[in-house]
Amino acid sequence: MQKFARTFFLFTLFLLVFSTLISLGMDKLLAGKLISYRKHTWVITMKERSYDYGVLGSSRVYNMVNVPLMDSILHTNGINMATSGSSYGDNYCLLLKFLENGNKLKKLFLNIDEYCFDTQHHYSYPFADYEYMPFFFQKNMREVYSDYESPSKMALWTVVPFSRYAEFSDKYKLRNFFILRHFQSDYENSKGGEMLTDSTYKNFKASFSTLNVNDTDVKYLYKICALCKQKGIPVIFLTTPESPELYPLQKNRAELYNRIYQWTGQLGEHYYMFDKLADFSDRKYFRDYTHTNSVGSAFYSKLLAAKLREDKVL
């Protein structure tokens, strides 16, 4: 029995070293290879591209800012880098990787709204940790991981690096490594956005009556702005349309928006609040309280483009 226990222990050590070497190899391979159709991967693996502007944030901009439409109006070249249900922490990582790869942005449109500051409650998975696994050991990435992950998970992923990929093997499918054909992401055609063609208005019950502010989310708002400042990219804040039916359900909306105005004034070059552009009270523009359908998105994007041209932002 002692011999078995000893062999088992030694083999476990060997396995740990072996799996660590494999995970380091995977870090190298995955950092630059598009092996999935996911939005994050598309942005992270992009290299040496230049855009007139980029849109960053959650589904509020991912589904609502129609970049191809705006580009046709403004004769610009933009990219929608936003991802569904993502926090500022996630947005920060995405932008950081995008810029590290030699990509350039002239302006950044950053989403800001009442949900951005309490993402742990409003979003189901505010930090898509599995998307940044190849960069887990990089200093600035680890800081984000530490802020969003439990200490036990951080310890496991640090001591057994392979466990990062093993846990999310459904995201990093082994068979995708061996797919011989090189696929081009569909995001190239849509410039990263996805409009909601499901136009039925779903009268969702809002469960978030009090709007909170979480320090971590605020921290990464500042970090995104600091990164942009360092790279010379002006930040323009956007709050995309919401159904006015939502307002009575939010107890401290006015109070939170006072703070949002302070942040946008302090950190951004401009701030475009949707209700300053037009009246969005008609249900025909919405799929739910907080997302416009494709009709509403087109309407909003046209108005936004016109305003940007008027203000000589683009």
Binding site: M1, K3, F4, T7, F11, F14, L15, F18, S19, I22, F162, Y165, A166, E167, F168, S169, D170, Y172, L174, R175, F178, I179, L180
Partner: protein, 479 residues
């Protein structure tokens, strides 16, 4: 509890340590009590409500065994055997077949113009019921035949019926083989335990890397059979052939390997069945514990091969139909059994059922051309039969087969994925070049660095394919 769950390795390490400690300090009796407790925990993890059924099954057959042992009258012994058969098969009938018979009766009556009010019950099928009832039944049968003396130790018997590695999906052990192993004191054997670990590793590889990878494609092709050409349907059937083999033989290997860690030697359940040169050989290599169970307890009591040709055909027919029916309460399984009977019939009539007894291409690297084509043909037959097994109903299976044998077989398939074909070829290669060993991870004679690197790589590949957030179930759990 699933073998491929996060809980299982934790459970195994704790149970393994306590087991050997109890064996060393208190001996076989308390060790067997511990086995019962952990086996009930293992089973109850899935659904504790059916623990009573397992207990009832064990108590009934133990009591019947004792009564048979005490009785000198053959008539009484026979009656007791009938009670055991009635009880065990009754349990199966109720939990597994009640709705099948009710539905079939209703359909038949409707086709004759009657419209009876047939009761159907919302019965949940207890996991592994077909396995442990057959194992328990094997005990009363051999005690009746006086080939085994009835045990007077309830703890030994309960441990034998509920032994967790093989409780829910076999191998279906014979009482004469396994029960004595519970009656002896055990000493930890390093080599035996290590061989168990390696076998478990190979089992996990087959289940997680082969079966679960292919299942994705199978689950896409079979439900969409109406919209796909014959070429894709044939591919789907081939994917399923490897999926079910990886899934079920993987489970068996994990079960046998786990049992070895506890010092138990379970019977081999698969012996490279896709390298069979005829269907008869296939059945000697596929789900051996079940096919030999039917041979010993159905085929031979019916007269076996020492009867006239017509009776022989009938006996084999009964075995295949019962085998199909054992798998599930659906006509598809009966058709699957029937298809195998039809494939078997020419061999039976030509008395060629036992011409391929030895392993294929023994001592040679490659098979002869004849052997190669024989294996391909047998695999094709088995694959065609699998279509019945996987289809939701018989009409789907026939449509599926019709499409395969149509011109659309020559259409370009949509689901021909190089990576999956490569995976299957690697799997076949691993099995072929190691077919004279128990499994490909037997690397005796290779330096430790090579062996450990191979095992480590296999573990990484397994972990990388493992769905931590939702492990896939084993197909044979439904039986």
């Amino acid at each position: 509890m699933l073998f491929n769950s996060i809980q299982f390795p934790v459970f195994l390490v704790i149970v393994f340590s306590l087991y050997w400690m109890i064996q060393k300090v208190w001996g076989a009796f308390y060790r067997n009590i511990f086995i019962i407790l952990i086996s009930y925990l293992f089973y109850g993890w899935w659904d504790w409500r059916f623990l009573g059924l397992l207990l009832l099954s064990s108590l009934t057959d133990f009591t019947i065994g004792l009564l048979m042992d005490r009785s000198t009258s053959d008539k009484t012994r026979k009656r007791l055997l009938y009670v055991s058969l009635l009880f065990n098969l009754g349990l199966l009938m109720f939990f597994k077949y009640f709705n099948f018979f009710a539905d079939s009766f209703s359909t038949l009556a409707s086709s004759l113009g009657f419209h009876p009010d047939v009761i159907t019950l919302k019965v949940i099928l207890p996991v592994g019921i077909s396995f442990y009832t057959f194992q328990s039944l094997s005990y009363t049968i051999v005690v009746y035949w006086k080939k085994l003396k009835a045990t007077h130790n309830l703890v030994d018997f309960m441990a034998f019926v509920s032994f967790f590695p093989q409780l829910v999906a076999g191998p279906i052990e014979r009482a004469s083989r396994l029960l004595p192993q519970f009656q002896e004191d055990k000493k930890f054997n390093f080599d035996f335990a290590v061989s168990g670990c390696k076998l478990m590793l190979w089992g996990f590889f087959k289940k997680i890397v082969i079966a679960d990878t292919l299942s994705e494609m199978v689950n896409t092709i079979f439900p969409n059979y109406l919209h796909l050409p014959g070429s894709d349907l044939l591919l789907g059937a081939i994917y399923f052939a490897f999926q079910i083999y990886g899934d079920f033989s993987g489970y068996s290997d994990i079960a046998i390997g786990t049992a070895r860690l506890f010092g138990f030697d379970l019977m081999k359940n698969f012996n490279y069945p896709y390298f069979s040169r005829d269907i008869s050989e296939f059945w000697r290599k596929w789900h051996i514990s079940l096919s030999s169970w039917f041979r010993d307890y159905v085929y031979i009591p019916l007269g076996g091969s020492k009867v006239s040709n017509s009776l022989l055909i009938r006996n084999v027919f009964i075995v295949f139909i019962v085998s199909g029916f054992w798998h599930g309460a659906n006509w598809t399984f009966i058709c699957w059994g029937l298809a195998h009977w039809l494939f078997y019939l020419p061999l039976l009539l030509l008395k060629r059922t036992r011409i391929n007894i030895d392993g294929v291409a023994l001592g040679r690297l490659l098979p002869s051309i004849k052997e190669f084509f024989q294996m391909c043909f047998t695999f094709l037959l088995a694959t065609l039969a699998w279509i019945f097994f996987r289809s939701a109903n018989v009409s789907q299976a026939f449509h599926y087969l019709r499409e395969i044998f149509s011109k659309s077989l020559f259409h370009k398939p949509v689901y021909f994925h190089y990576d999956l074909i490569l995976l299957i070829l690697i799997f076949i290669g691993l099995e072929w070049f190691n077919r004279e060993k128990e499994h490909p991870f037997q690397l005796a004679g290779k330096p430790r660095l090579v062996r450990w690197s191979v095992y480590s790589l296999a573990i990484c590949v397994i972990l990388f394919n493992f769905a931590f957030h939702k492990p896939a179930e084993f197909i044979y759990f439904q039986f």
